[in-house]
């Protein structure tokens, strides 16, 4: 009899403990399975046009509490060899030691450290980006796009973000010419809330 009482007491304490906690941030998994997420990049080609490409294989998740958006956080891991600029010979070159060196640096990872919502549907996300063997803080301009129930019983929330990387800062110094020192990244993520 005594052990039974003890277990019940513990269970009650756990439940009460859980209720006593502040409302937990909602946890979202980025919907890469359904490809409602994308990582695209663009660089100037010779200074005359934009070369566009993307990374096809990545995953990540984010936390967002609409009552406390400042506490939002995200982590995204990108498989660098999934780079796709729609031209096989160029992709082969981009994966080589001249650029991404994907054998040595198979993943790139972003982990946020702070989020500053501006209250107008935009915000600034700061975090550490690990790419090509370097980890440095970067800033991402965020657009809060929307959130709500989806037609299939789930709940989704989406953001878009842009940032610009200077290739040399990350140890990529292949000479693509004076107009091609920087790469712009565009990240669009839709998260499915995990219940």
């Amino acid at each position: 009899m005594k052990p039974m009482i003890r277990i019940t007491a513990c269970a009650a304490a756990l439940l009460c403990g859980a209720y006593a906690l502040p409302a937990a941030a909602e946890h979202y998994t980025i919907d890469t399975q359904g490809a409602h997420a994308a990582i695209q990049f663009r660089v100037k080609h010779l200074g005359y046009s934009w070369l566009l490409g993307r990374f096809n294989d990545f995953n990540g998740s984010f936390d967002y509490d609409s009552a406390n958006p400042k506490a939002a956080g995200i982590e995204v891991t990108v498989q660098t060899k999934s780079i796709d600029s729609n031209q096989a010979e160029r992709d082969k070159h981009l994966r080589s030691k001249d650029f991404l060196d994907v054998d040595r640096y198979p993943t790139a990872r972003f982990v946020s450290t702070a989020y500053e919502p501006k209250g107008d549907g935009s915000g600034v996300l700061r975090g550490d980006f690990t790419f090509h063997g370097h980890t440095q803080p970067i800033t991402i301009a965020v657009e809060e796009i929307g959130a709500g129930p989806d037609p299939w019983g789930g709940y989704r929330r989406g953001f878009a973000g842009t940032t610009t990387l200077t290739l040399k800062d990350w140890g990529i110094d292949y000479d693509l010419g004076p107009a091609t020192k920087e790469v712009e990244l565009f990240l669009s993520v839709e998260g499915i809330r995990q219940e």
């Binding site: 060899k81 729609n86 031209q87 096989a88 010979e89 992709d91 082969k92 994966r95 292949y174 000479d175 693509l176 010419g177």
Partner: protein, 180 residues
Amino acid sequence: MQFRNSPERYGAVAVALHWGVALLIFGLFGLGLWMTGLNYYDPWYRQGPALHKALGVGMVLLVVVRLVWRWRSPPPPPLAHTPWERRLAGVVHGLLYLLIFAMAISGYLISTADGRPLLVAGLAIPATLVGLPEQAERAGVVHWGLAWTLLTLVALHAAAALKHHFIDRDRTLLRMLGRS
């Protein structure tokens, strides 16, 4: 010098084809190594690979002509070989032909990995096998490995010819230069 091969000597066609292919092997190898190290702003950054592809396709055509010619006009029998030497020479010759085709196929698989045709001298050779996992990279690794294997076999082939000339003192090398 006659065009066709005879039981004593190689004809002009076989000699020209042999040395033409030899030149192409060295040329393609050197060009391939050099062009892959070029900077983006080098004028040869695009011309080098274009020439490499054109010469590669030319090589395949030349080797096909060579094999047809070998069939239509059989080469003279080898000189003063022991049975194992004949067998080894046969294997090396077969491998040289095989490697040339394997080089061409692996190169073609790099350039056509995304479904784009191989453009050579105004011709579009269509892509066939596309979208294999990491096709361009893997075909590239194979192309590179085969190139060194081919060059090693060519060195063995040349060393054997020199052995015939200087040690056996027979006319194998001279015959390939068109002499009887």
